[in-house]
């Protein structure tokens, strides 16, 4: 079986997770190896999670940590008494 860019893109996640049959993997790899567009597309598809993970790496603010401690002190005490 031969793949186009469009049909290959549809299988990309399953390919990367290793859940496709070996013959499908081989046909996809053959297409991508000979297709500069798909090679570039796959690189950006794989980079997207890393870029967004780094961009959404929220730090816990010190004041929120302090209020969490106060909240838990109050509510765990109440829970013990109940």
């Amino acid at each position: 079986m031969t793949y186009t860019c469009a049909s290959g893109v549809e299988l990309l996640m399953e390919y990367l997770e290793g859940v496709l049959p070996a013959e499908v993997n081989a046909a996809l790899e053959e297409h991508v190896a000979g297709c500069a567009r798909c090679t570039a597309f796959v690189a950006s598809y794989q980079a997207t999670p890393r870029i967004l993970r780094d961009a959404t790496m929220a730090e816990l603010p010190a004041d929120i940590e302090t209020s969490l401690q106060a909240f838990l002190r109050t509510h765990t005490r109440a829970f013990k008494k109940s």
Binding site: V9, M13, S44, P49, T56, M57, S67, L68, H75, T76
Partner: protein, 199 residues
């Protein structure tokens, strides 16, 4: 001599037996991760509430932790549920279609964009200034339809295994892969668009 840190399971057992210092150690160990997860699934404004709800729930249910899964997995599932429940109770802005960012193909199924255009999104973190990228990333993830957002956040941002995401969301692994795939296509196209090229 270096004293090894107690395992999560040891701390959980001690906390369940009434040792408050063990519970405090659990909170210190997980609070940053839970906050990050909550801010990704809800918002920075809602994350503190989710953080509180998560650890209070953990405290109240420590005795029901049976060690069938790792303690971290159990706690993470509680945090995920707390975030999703919290989001259900808050008014969200309308979800917008992100289909315009999906890749385009010609009649023969060939990418419409050139190789140079297709690779641009790979360098979004180098080409955009940090502040813009952080703001836009949060904004576009919030615009994703919930079912795509949840799968993408857990699988790709929190880096949970697909099987664990499937369990947390109550769906099949194949559905997780399909949702993450659609989200990635949209987000990749969005990054391309931010940089002024076709998806």
């Amino acid at each position: 001599m270096v004293v090894p840190e107690p395992t999560d399971e040891t701390l959980a057992a001690r906390a369940a037996a009434g040792d408050d210092s063990a519970f405090e150690a659990i909170v210190r160990r997980y609070q940053a991760r839970v906050f990050r997860l909550a801010s990704r699934l809800t918002s920075d404004a809602d994350a503190p509430d989710v953080l509180q709800e998560t650890f209070l729930h953990v405290y109240r249910h420590l005795s029901s932790f049976r060690g069938e899964s790792q303690f971290g997995t159990w706690l993470y599932r509680i945090a995920t549920n707390a975030a999703l429940m919290h989001r259900r109770g808050t008014k969200r802005r309308a979800v917008e279609s992100l289909d315009e960012y999906l890749p385009r193909f010609d009649a023969d199924g060939v990418h419409a964009a050139t190789p140079a255009e297709l690779q641009v999104a790979s360098h979004a973190d180098e080409l955009l200034d940090r502040k813009t990228l952080v703001e836009r990333a949060r904004d576009v993830i919030e615009r994703l339809p919930d079912h795509y957002r949840d799968a993408f956040v857990l699988r790709d941002l929190e880096e949970m295994p697909t099987a664990a995401v499937a369990q947390a969301l109550g769906i099949e692994p194949a559905a997780v892969r399909q949702r993450v795939h659609r989200a990635r296509l949209m987000l990749r196209g969005y990054l391309s668009d931010l940089l002024g090229v076709k998806p």
